[in-house]
């Protein structure tokens, strides 16, 4: 039984997410089961609000998103954090383990349960329990998608096709999802298992569990050949499961997921490589990519990011555990190796030494993390950068509450890495803006953060991002590589795909959600989607 609760101030935290945007809403529900989700959707399907328009329904998980996808645009908030059960486990024909979960399961908890062999299994059938016994007896398994924010929930991660540092080797969330159950706007359900149904060209036929047949015309655009979380995933003859992953809560509500687990690498080493100049770091990245077969992450921290860490280490005891940074170090590339044994890792380390020597680095200006303590230190180093920037912005907001952090999430093809970094540097300098950049350089995907000092800086930063969206699109890149588009980046999506393709996306949405209720304001503006059943 689930209640649709009228809005009171006790729910105000559900108006916000990690993007620090705030919305509004009239009611909220906390479904625990797929049945609860269907009940709520049946009661809201086609319902109108006081303004006579269909009631928007915004689906939330842990609200850790950075694009405001979970920030409500009025109407109803469906928070799925209490739908957090582990439902079963099986092995497929390749021997992989697949764990079936509800969308509210939190990533950090999933990791902990896998590592400690404590997956809650009450009520599981005999086949699942047998598979669980096998799982615990065999090599340790993990779920490879690793967004920085581990309090993210699995449903939200699927909704924005989340990535993380290890996406360099493992890709984004999409290929690690074997099946989905999706509740549609009318409360009907679509069950999708990867590899069972495919589109014919750009036409897709879906059968619902309620016995309906839905014919869908897919948008006609070609997606960029880069890391990409911008708009709907569409391709000729595609698997429909891929359409719903990364759809930002606009096509349906994910009520169940089956996740493909992978064996934990036997040897996992992290290496921080420090450079004097950004140019050397880029040269190193380009050289490492083809040479290092076992790299699973290539991350970057620019000079401003390192300076922020130096200051934090001096000023705050909370950051005193950060290792000391030599003043000569101007930027850093973090390489993570996932190897079968130590001999393999040592061979890669020797390759890194040679590449460093050829690219202006030094084998001495490195940190190699091989123990739990050292790897934790490296993790702290990586996560301390965004945390410190958030603290800096919060400090500045005390004097000017209108400003907030402006973080880019764009990616480009491999051969445009130097071009895009040059673009960032030249335009930031021309605008006189303070910034810090870090992120997934292996995927040519940097989070360039403008650090506004006042409202004028904030406005200039927003203008700059719009020009970057155009330039990155021209380079064959994506305006959102991992955060999703949500509400904050829909203008960029329009730049990337153009008005005609945005209308195609809206038309696709209307075929599944005729009243345009789900995830209203995500991907495109409300009026783009209006049509009615």
């Amino acid at each position: 039984m689930v209640d649709v609760l009228p809005w009171t101030s006790e729910f105000d935290e559900y108006l916000r997410d990690e993007s620090r945007s705030t919305g509004d809403a009239d009611s909220i529900s906390f479904p625990r089961t797929e049945g609860d989700i269907r009940t709520v959707m049946r009661s809201l399907y086609g319902a109108t609000g006081p303004d006579g328009r269909p009631v928007p329904v915004t689906v939330q998980g842990a609200r850790t998103g950075l694009a405001a996808g979970a920030v409500p645009a009025g109407g109803h908030v469906m928070n799925l954090s209490r739908a957090n059960a582990y439902l079963g486990l099986r092995r497929d024909q390749t021997g992989s383990y697949l764990v079936r979960v509800q969308p509210g399961v939190v990533l950090a908890e999933l990791r902990r349960h896998l590592a400690r062999h404590t997956i809650p299994c009450a009520g599981w059938d005999a086949a699942s329990l047998a598979a669980l016994e096998e799982l615990y007896a065999g090599p340790e398994q993990f779920f490879p998608t690793d967004p920085t924010e581990t309090s993210a929930c699995i449903g939200g991660m699927a909704a924005c096709n989340a990535s993380g540092a290890r996406s360099y080797a493992y890709g984004p969330m999409r290929p690690h999802v074997a099946s989905l159950r999706v509740v549609l706007a009318d409360g009907d359900v679509v069950a999708l298992r990867r590899g069972e149904v495919f589109a014919r060209g750009r036409h897709l036929t879906l059968e619902t569990e309620g016995g309906r047949t839905i014919e869908l015309d897919l948008p006609t655009y070609t997606m960029p050949a880069t890391k990409n979380a911008s708009g709907y995933f569409v391709a000729d003859d595609m698997d429909p499961i891929d359409l719903f992953i990364g759809s930002d809560g606009t096509l349906g509500i994910i009520s169940e997921l089956e996740l493909i687990l992978s064996p934990v690498p036997q040897v996992s080493w992290g290496i921080n490589c420090f450079f004097g100049t950004e140019d050397d770091a880029i040269g190193f990245t380009c050289a490492v990519r083809p040479a290092l077969a076992h790299a699973c992450a290539l991350e970057y921290f620019d000079a401003a990011a390192l300076d922020i860490l130096r200051r934090q280490r001096e000023r705050s005891t909370a950051f005193s555990a950060l290792p000391a940074l030599d003043d000569a170090w101007g930027c850093c590339v973090y390489v993570e190796l996932a190897c079968d044994d130590e001999a393999e890792a040592l061979a890669d380390l020797a390759r890194l030494r040679d590449i460093l020597a050829a690219c202006g680095g030094s084998e001495d200006a490195t940190w190699v993390g091989r123990t739990d303590v050292d790897r934790e230190c490296q993790r702290f180093f990586r996560h301390a950068v965004p945390e410190s920037v958030n603290m800096l912005i919060d400090e500045r907001r005390r004097t000017d509450p209108t400003i907030t952090k402006l973080g880019s999430d764009m990616s480009v093809p491999d051969d445009r890495l130097r071009d895009v970094v040059r673009l960032y540097r030249e335009s930031l300098a021309a605008a006189g803006l303070e910034s810090a950049a870090w992120g997934h350089i292996g995927n040519n995907h940097l989070h360039v953060n403008v650090l506004p000092r006042d409202a004028a800086d904030y406005a200039a930063g927003k203008r700059l991002f719009q020009t970057w969206a155009r330039a990155v699109t021209d380079m064959g890149g994506a305006v959102s590589a991992e955060h999703g588009v949500g509400k904050l980046k829909r203008d960029f999506l329009a730049v990337m795909y153009g008005a005609d393709h945005i209308r195609e996306m809206a038309a696709l949405k209307r075929q599944l959600d005729p009243y345009g209720q789900l995830g209203q304001g995500n991907l495109f503006a409300v009026d783009t989607c209006e049509g009615g059943a």
Binding site: I271, L352, E363, D364, T366, V368, D372, D374, C377
Partner: protein, 266 residues
């Protein structure tokens, strides 16, 4: 200067697993790490080595451990971080040693080194045993002075070490003539990470592994037979908590609280 750093392999502090039947720590090589207090000791030693290098003085850091053969992996990691060489005392004869027998074995290892130790650095204690006895006992065995719970190294002049140590009353500044033994607090320093150069170079450094016979250890003073400590039982303490609700006005609650505290202190 020759500095010997004693290191112990302990279970990883983040994931200690207990055997539910025997209530003992499950020890397997994969989870072993250098005792965090000893890691700090290594950093103190490496810092002295850096200072000596800057002054043009020679300094050698040797890491010493008693343990299973896999402990060699941890000693090699210490070398990757800047130690020069390692000695592992590994022999079934050392098994079951208490702190006295361990100290004896370590003192034999130091005595058999090719260069006398000017300074022996130990962690204040080990995270799995918590005895804090090895450093002082080792000083006794070597017949040198001992400074325990060192918080900070102020400097070294000639053969005198200036240190700051914690006491019950606060901090104490101490000067000690070498040779000496010091034990260090965990927060006294943060162990540096190894570099690629360090890791690759350490792979080629031979680590001496010696038996009890190799270091002329008296069998009656090693391992179980050299250990007067008798472990009667080890167990995981049960966690118990009890809530008492205090009611009434502020004065009544305060009085009830005082009574509860007095009762607990009886």
């Amino acid at each position: 200067m020759h500095i010997v750093v004693c290191v112990k392999a302990v279970p990883s502090t983040t994931e200690v697993k207990m055997d539910p039947k025997t209530n003992t720590i499950v020890r397997d090589g994969r989870q072993a790490v250098v005792n965090p207090f000893d890691a700090t000791g290594l950093e103190i030693a490496l810092h002295i080595k850096d200072e000596c290098a800057a002054a043009g003085d020679p300094c050698r850091v040797t890491v010493l451990s008693m343990g299973i053969p896999d402990t060699e992996r941890l000693l090699r990691d210490c070398i990757a971080r800047g130690a020069d060489d390692g000695l592992l005392l590994s022999d079934r004869a050392f098994a079951g040693a208490d702190t006295l027998a361990t100290t004896y074995a370590l003192s034999r290892g130091i005595a058999c080194m090719d260069e006398p130790a000017d300074l022996v650095v130990c962690g204040k204690m080990a995270v799995d045993g918590d005895t804090a006895q090895i450093g002082p006992e080792l000083a006794g065995a070597l017949d040198v002075p001992c400074v325990v719970d060192v918080q900070r190294l102020h400097g070294i002049v000639g053969s005198t070490l200036a240190l700051e140590r914690a006491t019950d009353a606060g901090r104490e500044l101490v000067e000690v003539d070498l040779p000496a033994v010091i034990t260090v607090a965990k927060d006294a320093a943060q162990l540096r990470m190894p570099s690629i150069a360090g890791v690759l170079a350490a792979e080629g450094v031979p680590i001496a592994v010696k038996t009890a016979a190799d270091v002329d250890a008296d069998p009656a003073r090693t391992g179980l037979s050299g250990s007067p400590t008798q472990v009667v039982r080890s167990f995981v303490p049960e966690r118990a908590s009890e809530a008492v609700c205090v009611t009434g006005d502020a004065a009544e609650q305060a009085a009830a609280l005082v009574e509860l505290i007095e009762e607990a202190c009886r």
